[in-house]
Point group: D2
Chain length 402, copies 4
């Protein structure tokens, strides 16, 4: 029987998740080119990556919306997808919508919780119970579709900031707290990570939330021999920052200040309008600059929820730099991108690359995926071209071995 | 006796040349940091490059203005340099101004010719005579200042386009035409190149003019065992283009159109307002994109002379690209830079690096300097980071050998 | 029987014309708000303007495309209109498409001529014959639909520049030349104007072409007691220019240079890519600034055809101005608009306002419509707010009189 | 003896105050044109306004810096003024520097207080004592220079927000609280206003602080027959907003969101980095939009202190609007201005116009000065062109009466 793999999306019916779903359907039918997918570059043609038609999609969500409703809403409000695309993907989206299960909102913050529909949230008393329910959903998905491999990717909204404690330093400490009633020892993003890793399912964190970024979960991944990656997909303003900043360094031009102002709408914007959730996001966006420059330049990043933007995001960046003889000069850029459209193909890349890594018996954090993330786990390097070179070298080797 | 080297600037009293001169003086006195100079990056600290205080400056110019007047005019019109900087460099600039000799305007186009002062132009009947005069000036400069090495760098304005013929295919053919009266077989930029190379003096073409880009001159350089480099300094809009375009390729985002509109004033702008001279410049700016993308995207580059800008240049670029599922998105940037301030430190870099290459017995075109040029001679690669890596590898090796 | 009026569009199946048609249909059905229509402002609620449902649409075109195909193509390439809008307007567009007649391409330039489909061009030997055919079409339209009034609006592409001669100075001179074979004494835009005015039908020139801007045609309009207006709809960059420039004047800030760079695709862009047609357009865009400022500032306007933009247009303007104590400062703006969407509601405004003027027995050029045009006929004033005040005063009076 | 008038600047040695001083000196000597001054427009040539040479400058400041040091620092850090200008104005600035007296910091917020030098602050126990000291300073200024008229203009940094109470509703209530020890019933800006008005000296509030905006102070002004005006000078982003927003209204284009992001450095930026002070500023910037549009569009204004900008300010505005048939379009602008250079000439305008009003026996708030302010006192109108028309009509009448 032919190979089948599962893509399980946390927050699956959000913009990114549902765009990944419609994209996968259209790619499988040969109705859209693979523009925007890094793993589809001709350079990587020899690498044994899963073809789009191999995938089945499922996921957790805290809203009752299904894929069909989600993509129609994106089409109407944000002007993406054509009527023909919606029609062609319709049956797949309906079928995959059947694989959506109620998500958990533990420690996701009040704004995310407020978006939840009552019937679509898993009501549980302890973290242990939440993990148990997630694993039941994953097992059932795998079994029903006879999947050879499954990958879990977190595409949910950003959670509030989370303080790591002694409880998160080892599997033993963490396990001891899972049964505790009251406030969960783990936020939702980490419950999903723990559930997946424990089952030997790779986990990718496309968001700035905690996810698998805890010593206890790293220990668990290595114990179970399973790879994971993250965090926070690098799709727009930060991508450009990690492309431009190295140029200033290599030309010995001194960046004096770098201001980035982002406006966006849609669900992601609504969640980021909550200062608690925004703080997490700004932290990962802002940390990048100092690392790239090697000195401290004044950096300011702001994100504002502007309803009329819907799924589009505009970033304005103002870079004030000093050149020869103390002369101050300026570069400004605006980036006008559609968040879901930019993120979804990278989600598919990460699914394919993580499944490949698991087949190659890799475990722990996948450092060669750094170029996909704003806060690449296990890697200090933020220079996009150096990060990309890491991916190229890995895949050249992977392609050659086959 | 301590080492002394000469920097001979064609068009020396223009914005770039005179900024290089004041910069060199202030660097030698320790009054300005080396911001903007690639060769001063900490990474290259072990490479044996000539210190600023080793340099003596001279050059050719077709105007009577001297360095002191040129930098004062830049200060007043364009707001660069401080009063303190002008004062501190004054004596050096006066002394170096004594080393300026009348330039040649053969085939430089009517706009450049119109800027010439009668007394500052070398009146000659043949190309041979022009070369002879240039060599006399260079010999006298070298002898008077007891220079160990000299480098000639072309920082003059852009010449009109020039058609290569059989005459330019070999030293023999070319030499046969030098005595011809009437229209010169070589434009001014190539006369300077030929004069220098024949004397064993390295030549760098910082402009889009022909310079040493003729088979006959390459043959001459190899015969005389002398290195050369060029062409067209990459300081602003094109630099950014060669930084950003690779990102679009690596993310598999399809550039549909890339429009660049440049406005600038000052002498360079005035010359580029002449359609004949502008055509040469636009050619080197525009060729870059197709090479970087690997496919044909619509590209438009325009340059307009806007008097009020003086030595400042603003480029507006509009990049229209297609992402996943056919969605069109946009990036725009503006670059507001001072041309002389951006170019001058690179001229100093090129002087130091070319003198090093000659000491290392290299000859012919210096491919490792590609990152400095819009149309790097001898190199097809336009990706700034790959070009830069070529320089780093060369200098790491050069540093290690010492 | 209820009142019915006809809107006859020259170039009817272009972007502007077909958007006006779909808009009229949707407005008549109450399916879209009147956003973008000046005549629908609450301020003018008391003025007796024709309601959308009163209109029947027809026109001339040189391509075989009909309204339905034109709007579908705009939807697919430029992302405007929703599927619901296309469906709702379908029957009206089919019906009105039956009213499209072959246009004339006399002296429209080779680029426009090259876009013509053979079967859709009226082949005629003389200007007289062309006018005769146009009048036959108009008469047949009026009779078949029992129209109380008809207005002709030119929304075709820009023609090449045209030199006025003695032939155009009076009706008598002009009439004497109409029978001449060979090159027509009038370009297409003026043939339409003459045909309409002679029939007592008002004519509005929404393009920079000549249209009714000839002394002979003004004489004709006054003889026939019919109003006309033009020229060149003010929809985007020039609109903003006429809004911002007065502010610089009133704040005594001295504009030193104003650069406008426009990129656009679609049919209009393709025609403007022809230097002959572009020259006409740039002239009307560029003349505005000197008049507004009252002194000569350097002004540069360029228009480039960028295919990927489709019906969208982006203008980048860079305004360099001098403030107190000689300090230079800058303002830049980008305008990202959809040409058809901006223009179509103004075409409807002009139709309603011109029909009103005719009912009010006005004849000759309608000066109070200046705020709609880049080159307002009969008015030197370019300040948008002063122009708008002229419209407001006229309509307040018109409203009061009823 | 010839007429002499006094300009008393609160925060006199800040950027705006010291630029007004050097400007006045250079204007009086005929060394700079009156570019940037509204009152110098040819239109107002017949109005009897005080010539620059009539003015003597003095003021209060909480720092020990004098005019000479302030303008030199602006020159060095922000690149404004030429060396020649500094030299020519030197003696006037030294002389006027002698007229600077210690300011008060009551309720100015901790950031402003932290900038104060110990010796330059008036230490007082009660509001009454503070007013008394201010009046002593003003009286001494008037007497020493034999001034015919004096005007006080507040150009100090923005104070924290202030809550109006019953104490501020009448002169009687207010006076009863002046003697109270502990927290002052009035912030610094209002103490200056009260001191001036009580002496019959006109007061202009160029800042968003409270100043004279209290019922009790309005009552006082009318009792003393003295005019006042304010508040918050309209120099840059808000000026453009009040120019552009009316255009959207008149074209029936529906603004969906308007985002303004401002970055600035210098003293003003440092004070606005304090959230308490920033809140006051944002309030006046943000209120404008709703009033202009007549409906609620999402509006976001942010201000960030970016040290490298020094006295320059860049605003980026993103306007998202809906046109015909629901199509969303965008306009963006950047404004790159030097705050002091934009504000200073308006301060001189306000001085001249307020002194004129007093000579014309006007009292209370000067409504015809609305075009100068972000929050024009006594006027609801924010449309710049309507505001400007109010000024023109007033001055036409004033000119005619003479």
């Amino acid at each position: 029987m032919s190979r089948r793999v599962g893509l399980w999306l946390i927050g699956g019916c959000g913009g990114v998740g549902s765009t990944a779903a419609i994209g996968l359907s259209l790619l499988a039918k040969g109705l859209t080119p693979s523009v925007g997918m890094v793993s589809a570059l001709p350079l990587f043609a020899d690498v044994d990556l899963d073809a789009p038609e191999t995938f089945v999609v499922g996921g957790h969500d805290i809203r009752t919306a299904r894929f069909v409703e989600a993509v129609r809403s994106l089409h109407e409000r944000s002007g993406i997808f054509t009527s023909d695309q919606l029609r062609a993907a319709h049956d797949d989206l309906v079928a995959w919508g059947e694989n959506i299960r109620p998500g958990t909102i533990i420690r996701a913050g009040s704004t995310i919780s407020g978006m939840a529909d009552r019937d679509s949230v898993a009501i549980v008393a302890t973290a242990f119970e939440a993990i148990d329910r997630i694993q039941t959903d994953l097992t059932e998905f795998r079994d029903r579709h006879s999947l050879d491999q499954v990958v879990v990717i977190n595409t949910a909204s950003t959670e509030p900031e989370f303080a790591e404690t002694d409880d998160h330093q080892s599997v033993q400490n963490l396990t001891a707290q899972l049964d505790r009633e009251g406030e969960s020892v783990l936020p939702a993003s980490s419950l999903y990570a723990m559930a997946a890793l424990e089952m030997g399912i790779p986990y990718v964190n496309f968001t700035p939330s905690v996810g698998a970024s805890l010593p206890a979960l790293d220990e668990l991944a290595r114990m179970r021999n399973v790879p994971y990656a993250g965090k926070d997909g690098k799709t727009g303003e930060t991508l450009i920052k990690t492309v431009l900043a190295p140029m200033f360094v290599l030309r010995n031009l001194k960046v004096r200040s770098w201001v980035g102002h982002n406006i966006l709408g849609a669900g992601d914007g609504r969640v980021l309008a909550d200062p608690e959730n925004k703080a997490t996001k700004i932290r990962t966006k802002d940390a990048v600059l100092g690392s790239l420059l090697g000195y401290k330049a004044q950096s300011h990043v702001s994100i504002e929820y502007i309803e009329s933007m819907d799924d589009w995001k505009t970033a304005w960046d103002h870079i004030h730099f000093e050149g020869f003889l103390g002369t101050k000069m300026m570069m400004q850029f605006t980036w006008q991108g559609c968040d879901s459209i930019l993120a979804a193909p990278l989600v598919l890349d990460l699914a394919r690359l993580t499944l490949l890594a698991q087949r190659r018996k890799e475990s722990g954090v996948l450092r060669h995926l750094a170029c996909f993330f704003k806060s690449p786990m296990g890697v200090e390097e933020h220079d996009f071209f150096i990060q990309n070179q890491m991916l190229v070298e890995y895949l050249m080797q992977a392609g050659a071995r086959q």
